[in-house]
């Protein structure tokens, strides 16, 4: 089987095989209303990547998508086609706002094999891309976060402004799209919450309330530790996207100075900062530079009703990061940034070490550090909480999982089964590699367990999962 061979790596033919990961062929956004008549088709296209493509081909591709969507609508008016799947590639369609269509065309992964007569043979791996359509949503949502809705852009400055904004945003973001590293967690688009005792949590609450009081222009605050969320003043949907942006884009870009430590040259550039470890991740780099730029990324939240435009200030001390969001009509000055630094910096430094200390105490109390016989991924649709013992570290470019990609694929398959039905379900799969994979769905929660017990039978596996639920999830209502 192709999948098994792909993962084996050390097989006899391994040396002759070449793998090509999935690749983005094109990405475009169009609105059929903008050029309904013949000869005006080009007006429909709001964004097209890659831009070098010849105009007529662009028009042809857009026309094809339009036709597919129209055609499939006759079968299912409320749910038109989401994707079209061919041997070589897959197209994903999404209509985030009425009449605005986003289309992503992805080439299937390829394995190049040597045939007996020495000629290369390409094998397309059609089933591997199931997961990736979700990237489209994530990227669309990020687009909203940083640009607002399409409609709002139209109101502000017509098609011209919309096109400019899309160009600016997607040009940069499509370069950071890493299709091969997408997995179950991308489908969920969940939020990892930092486990914390009540008292430390209340201290953080108190800190946030005090900061919002002293920096009175702050409208919303979010607090993260170790790239995990602790508090969000934003609504869930907005936080979900901000969280994705922070953990996959902003934080990874700032890892280096952190690792460099206090005495590194990067630190030395910021004298007068010896009282605390706080620094801006967005905004001014050096507060002592009178010409420092106080420019912060703009984000858009509550796009469904109040539609708010905000500046995003991200400030970090050790592993604790705070996002302060202020109304975009107010422009934070260097003085404000200095004040923020002097108020937030020392307190956040103390708080960060408190959290660290408390976390270590709790970890010690919960005891057993030894590697368990299972790994799991948990997701709750209600609060978007995700938890994974499968992933070691997830960055945009690499998803470092501790299990074989085949198993990850099975998880994806189980998930797509789950999405088809509303009722609670349980699926148990015995994988080729002697692993057991169990998927459970109960009251909007999903749990995926990978068990490494070769000789276990179905009943034993079931018992094992029950035990896991009793120990790891005893404080929630999760039906056995």
């Amino acid at each position: 089987m192709a999948a098994a061979a792909a993962g084996a790596g050390s097989g006899p033919w391994a040396a002759q095989e070449k793998q090509f990961p999935p690749a983005l062929l094109s990405f475009f956004i169009y609105n059929p209303r903008f050029g309904p008549r013949e000869g005006e088709e080009e007006n429909k296209i709001l964004f097209y990547h890659p831009n070098e493509v010849e105009k007529n081909e662009k028009i042809r591709n857009v026309g094809l998508c339009e036709a597919i969507v129209q055609f499939t609508r006759t079968f299912s008016p409320s749910k038109p086609a989401k994707s079209l799947h061919t041997q070589k590639n897959r197209q994903f369609f999404n209509e985030p706002e009425e009449n605005f269509w986003m289309v992503m065309v992805v080439r299937n992964p390829i394995i190049e094999k040597q045939s007996k007569d020495g000629k290369p043979v390409l094998e397309y791996q059609e089933e591997e891309l199931l997961v990736m359509c979700h990237c489209l949503f994530v990227y669309f949502f990020k687009c909203i976060l940083f640009n607002g809705t399409f409609l709002k852009a139209m109101e502000d400055g017509g098609v011209k402004l919309l096109k400019e904004r899309l160009e600016k945003f997607f040009h940069r973001y499509l370069q950071t799209l890493h299709l091969q590293s997408c997995d179950l967690l991308d489908i969920f688009g969940g939020i990892s919450f930092f486990p914390l005792d009540k008292m430390t949590y209340l201290k953080i609450q108190s800190f946030i309330n005090r900061m919002e009081e002293s920096l009175n222009i702050v409208k919303y605050t979010a607090f993260l530790y170790n790239d995990q969320l602790i508090w969000s003043g934003l609504e869930q949907d907005d936080m979900r996207i901000l969280y994705k942006y922070l953990t996959t884009s902003l934080f990874p870009r700032h890892i280096e100075p952190e690792l460099a430590g206090r005495d590194s040259p990067i630190r030395a550039e910021m004298p007068g900062n010896l009282q605390h470890y706080g620094r801006f991740l967005t905004g001014p780099l050096n507060l002592n530079d009178p010409d420092a730029k106080c420019r912060f990324p703009k984000i858009f939240v509550n796009t469904d009703d109040t539609y708010e435009e905000l500046h995003l200030i991200v400030y970090k001390a050790m592993s604790a990061a705070v996002c302060f969001m202020i109304d975009a009509s107010i422009h934070p000055t260097l003085d404000f940034c200095r004040r923020l630094d002097s108020i937030v910096g020392p307190q956040l430094t103390v708080l960060a070490s408190d959290i660290c200390e408390q976390f270590n105490i709790n970890k010690r109390m919960s005891g057993s550090e030894k590697e368990p016989q299972f790994k799991f991924i948990y997701f709750n649709h209600m609060n978007l909480a995700e938890k994974s013992t499968v992933h070691m570290r997830k960055t945009p470019s690499v998803s470092l999982t501790s299990v074989h990609p085949d198993l990850m694929k099975i998880l994806g398959d189980i998930n797509s089964d789950f999405t088809r039905v509303d009722e609670d379900e349980e699926i148990i799969v015995k994988a080729m590699s002697d692993y057991w994979v169990v998927g459970k769905k109960s009251d909007r929660r999903e749990l995926y367990v990978i068990l490494n017990q070769k000789n276990a039978n179905l009943i034993e596996v079931n018992e094992e999962v029950k035990k896991l639920c009793a120990t790891q999830f005893n404080n929630i209502f999760f039906l056995d």
Partner: protein
């Protein structure tokens, strides 16, 4: 100076007696707090009045010369009169017993009835004080100590005057208070009051110095554990609290007045006489008069006007005189009648006009809860000791006294928070921050938070549609699990769908709400889930078959009905040896329904062996 500014006042109902004049001598007994008005050496009458006496004692005695001193024994049993410096007369014949004798050269003495300690002044400079303690018919000698006299010009001989010494109990400890006058030779900026702590055992030690920053004539009182220093020249008084933080130099703590100097509140002398002359306006009383005599702890006597007052501290005006809320709380929490004032301070700091910052609010809550926790701990250790049966063996075990400084959650809820959250003009961010700050403070002192506080938080969040915040609080268990809270969450489901899951999770954690879980699931038509849950906890032998069959029938899912019906048939078989339902289970209509859908053959037959 507004009227609300005076923080000291004379009591409303003074003891009134006949003014001192050439024929009427007035005496005061500190032990019984009685005033003796002796007319013409007692021949025309002696009137004795105490602070609590409704009916004054009056009697006559023969005029045998000038009375130097006159006193009753405790409980007014024996009268003693002193007419010469060396004799004391008891009108009835009694015998006195010599308990003990010590040989000392005594300059003067001072007796403190509350602590039953007498101080004797010895040596030429009069500044070595020898205390004795009377207890249960014995007299014990305590270590003597020396009062440091200020340096005086060579021409005058320094000595310790009786007038500059007082004894008083402050915060349960006996202190000797020495009024050290300003000396021109030293650098001090004014007079000071030096407090020597006189413990029951061990040596007397200089502990506190109260800086007066002025010179002139002073008098001391102790009221509600506060040292009050009256200054005649300026006709004002200041107060000191030795429990408030001062500057510690390694051995002595220096204190400054808690508040700016103020006069005692002006006092009107009520007009005595027939109702016809009430049109006369009351006469203002001359305060800080040179005829005032001050006694410990809180007595002021004006012999020329014929009044004895108790000095009192008014707490309300202090609220506005002490801007530092933390220090204000420290001060108020030590006062006897503090509860309502503290609650009003709390309300005030949450009001729109006088709103305090969150760190200040946090400090105030922490101080309240510190006192509250101390009391809870004392209660708990008392209860434990009683349980362990130590109450009889140890007479020292006393039920802790709940002072007014103990403000529990219900006090704060009733008098402060419930009104605060109702204020429409308050920004909800601030309301939530305050509630969370109070909950944080309670948690910090490990005090279990009452459910009504949680409900207040939830109510506020729901009112402002802040469901996601609520969700996060529940996720981190900031709001403790309880059945009422779970029910409240269930009721929120239509506004916020995840509330359903939150509620079920909470019911599960309570582990005493399994019936409720089943009801919730059945109401959602999750019959199979309900059955699996109850089976999972081993309760499926006791559930009502009818209830589950009803719910299954309502789903209009025949296969589900079949499964549930079969489950109960099997239960019947297992429990009673027959799959049939008993009449008591009232399942006839379900049996009929089952037969109608699946046929008579489908009904389980009794297994026979």
């Amino acid at each position: 100076m507004g009227e609300e500014d005076y923080y000291l006042e004379l009591c409303e109902r003074p003891v009134q007696f006949e003014k001192a004049n050439p024929v009427n001598c007035v005496f005061f007994d500190e032990a019984n707090k009685q005033v003796f008005a002796v007319r013409s050496g007692g021949a025309t009458g002696v009137v004795v009045k105490g602070p609590d006496d409704r009916n004054p004692i009056s009697f006559r005695m023969d005029d045998k010369g000038e009375v130097k001193c006159i006193k009753f024994s405790l409980e007014n049993k024996i009268l003693a009169v002193q007419r010469t410096s060396k004799t004391v007369v008891l009108p009835e014949k009694r015998s006195l017993k010599l308990l003990k004798s010590h040989n000392l050269n005594v300059n003067w003495y001072m007796y403190c009835p509350e602590s039953t300690v007498i101080l004797l002044s010895t040596t030429v400079l009069e500044n070595v004080l020898q205390p004795f303690h009377f207890r249960a018919g014995t007299m014990s000698k305590l270590p003597k100590f020396e009062i440091e006299l200020p340096a005086a010009p060579k021409s005058t001989k320094p000595s310790l005057s009786e007038r500059d010494i007082a004894m008083a109990t402050i915060y349960g400890q006996l202190y000797v208070l020495f009024l050290r006058h300003h000396s021109r030779t030293s650098n001090s900026t004014g007079a000071e009051v030096v407090l020597y702590h006189l413990p029951r055992e061990g040596a007397c030690k200089k502990m506190h110095i109260l800086k007066l920053n002025r010179t002139g004539k002073f008098a001391l009182n102790v009221v509600d554990n506060l040292v009050v220093v009256h200054h005649q020249d300026t006709e004002t008084s200041v107060i000191f609290d030795i429990k408030l933080r001062g500057e510690f130099d390694g051995s002595v703590t220096f204190h400054h007045p808690v508040l700016p100097a103020r006069s005692i509140q002006p006092y009107q002398i009520p007009i005595a006489g027939p109702a016809a002359v009430t049109s006369q306006s009351p006469v203002p009383c001359k305060l800080y008069s040179s005829s005032w005599i001050v006694f410990q702890p809180d007595i002021i006597i004006s012999a020329s006007q014929g009044y004895l007052w108790n000095l009192q501290v008014k707490l309300e005006p202090i609220v506005n005189l002490l801007p530092d809320k933390g220090r204000l709380m420290d001060f108020l929490l030590q006062r006897k009648e503090c509860k309502m004032v503290i609650l009003s301070v709390c309300s005030q700091m949450l009001s729109e006009s006088d709103r305090a910052s969150l760190p200040v609010i946090a400090t105030v809550f922490d101080k309240l809860n510190h006192e509250y926790k101390k009391y809870l701990d004392a209660e708990q250790s008392y209860a434990m000791a009683v349980e362990a049966g130590q109450s009889r063996s140890s007479p020292l075990l006393k039920r802790p006294v709940r002072t007014q400084a103990v403000l529990d959650q219900s006090d704060v809820y009733t008098h402060v928070l419930s009104a605060f959250v109702e204020k429409k003009e308050m920004p909800h961010k601030f309301v939530i921050a305050v509630l969370m700050e109070y909950i944080r403070s309670l948690n910090q002192f490990q005090i279990a938070v009452q459910h009504y506080l949680h409900e207040l938080v939830i109510k506020t969040l729901v009112q402002h549609n802040l469901f996601y915040m609520l969700h996060q609080f529940l996720q981190y268990h900031v709001l403790s699990d309880s059945k009422p809270l779970a029910c409240l969450l269930l009721s929120l489901e239509s506004f916020y769908p995840p509330a359903h899951q939150l509620s079920l999770d909470m019911l599960k954690r309570l582990s005493t709400a399994n019936d409720e879980i089943v009801e919730v699931l059945l109401s959602k038509h999750q019959v199979l889930a309900a059955l699996r849950f109850i089976r999972g906890i081993g309760g499926h032998d006791n559930i009502s078959a009818r209830k589950f069959l009803d719910a299954a029938k309502q789903t209009e899912d025949n296969m589900l009905f079949y499964t549930i019906f079969r489950f109960f048939e099997q239960r019947n078989q297992r429990l009673r040896g027959s799959p049939n339902f008993t009449p008591g289970e009232h399942c006839e209509e379900h049996v009929a329904f089952f037969k109608q859908i699946f046929g008579d053959q489908a009904v389980m037959r009794p297994t026979t062996f």
